[in-house]
């Protein structure tokens, strides 16, 4: 099979090709296609670039290792977003626990910490600059259950049905959570979108 043909394949055909014939090129094409959307999704959710790169790499490794667990009835995009979402959520919970612990210990020792400002990294700075930074900070303040869904819907532009599949939630719940998340963001960003 030639590379030209592979590049015309749909995602589902590519993963099947990788499953059945172990065609590394098919896997590489999937990595190429999904690395940036997943980086964007995980970064918006976690707000830490290094951690997000690590999570997306881990996602791709999981796809490589567990390629046989993909069933052709599902869309490849929802499958890969589910893996990345699960890893991102686990990392987020781990950080939350660690932060609680470090805040408690900080109280006792009265130490000060310098929190690195990830938004000022050259690879994170985006076209809209400060506006983006404010949006990112606002996003991180939205409740995690709503944030994930708002990102998937309004940044990644997935359908409600796809989000329901990725998060394992009913479509109705997805819609209501997205709207609650949007309402929280609207409050926080009212000064920005008036400009």
């Amino acid at each position: 099979m030639t590379d030209k043909k592979l590049s015309d394949f749909t995602d589902e055909e590519l993963i099947l090709e990788f499953q059945q014939n172990n065609t590394i090129k098919a896997y590489e094409l999937l990595v190429q296609k999904y690395k940036n959307p997943l980086i964007n999704y995980v970064y918006r959710f976690l707000g830490d670039y290094e951690a997000c790169v690590d999570i997306v790499q881990e996602t791709m490794i999981k796809v490589y290792r567990n390629k046989d667990s993909y069933k052709s009835i599902a869309k490849f995009s929802t499958w890969i977003y589910t893996i990345a979402g699960n890893l991102a959520r686990t990392e987020y919970q781990r950080r939350k626990r660690r932060n609680i612990f470090s805040i408690n210990s900080m109280k006792e020792d009265d130490e000060t910490f310098d929190i690195p400002d990830e938004s000022m990294r050259p690879d994170v700075i985006t076209d809209s600059g400060i506006k983006d930074e404010i949006i990112q900070k606002a996003l991180l303040k939205v409740s995690d259950a709503y944030r994930e869904m708002v990102i998937l819907r309004d940044i990644q532009e997935l359908s409600y049905e796809e989000i329901a599949e990725v998060t394992g939630t009913a479509v109705g719940t997805v819609k209501s959570r997205i709207n609650r998340g949007r309402a929280q963001l609207q409050k926080m960003l009212k000064d920005i979108y008036k400009d």
Binding site: N36, Q57, D127, L189
Partner: protein
């Protein structure tokens, strides 16, 4: 593309803001690093030797067999050396009565203290029904006579019945 619903119109400004946020991209060399990780993990898996497989290496095989043999022999000998009493062959231990044991102790105390007699000690240490909070029923003479009468009737009844059967 689906038509926007009421909420999407209501939150249009927020949605537009989010849609136009800059896209974060993967760092250069993302794929190369990924393939390196995959290959290193595969290599690690292929070369991973189970702990028990280390004992099967020819140079370690003889010492490990010898060590196992020594441990097994030690356990066999150790197990046999322990003399165990067969509970079915040994005579059962007699249980000493509490009273006799008490008496011996009381006699010892009275011997050591000549002022105290064994009898007085026995009285002070002995347990009576009142101490154990028994329900004590005091019968009047008439009640006692009635009970004795009933007992005599029962005895007679059994005697008659037994003689009839014979």
């Amino acid at each position: 593309m689906m038509a926007p619903d009421y909420e999407e119109i209501h939150f249009k400004s927020v949605i537009d803001l989010l849609k136009h946020t800059g896209k974060i991209t993967a760092p250069p060399g993302f794929e190369a690093e990924l393939m390196r990780r995959i290959n290193s993990e595969n290599y690690g898996k292929a070369n991973k030797v189970q702990w028990w497989e280390k004992f099967l290496i020819s140079s370690r095989l003889i010492p490990s067999v010898a060590a196992v043999a020594v441990i097994v022999i030690f356990f066999i000998l150790n197990f046999n050396s322990v003399e165990r009493e067969n509970p079915f062959l040994s005579t059962p231990k007699m249980r000493e009565t509490l009273n006799s044991g008490n008496n011996v102790q009381l006699q010892d105390i009275s011997r050591q203290n000549p002022g105290i007699t064994a009898a007085s000690l026995n009285q002070s240490f002995s347990i009576n029904k009142e101490g154990l909070n028994f329900l004590q029923v005091r019968l009047t003479e008439s009640e006692r006579a009635r009970i004795n009468k009933l007992k005599a009737q029962v005895r007679e009844y059994f005697k008659e019945n037994l003689s009839l059967k014979k």
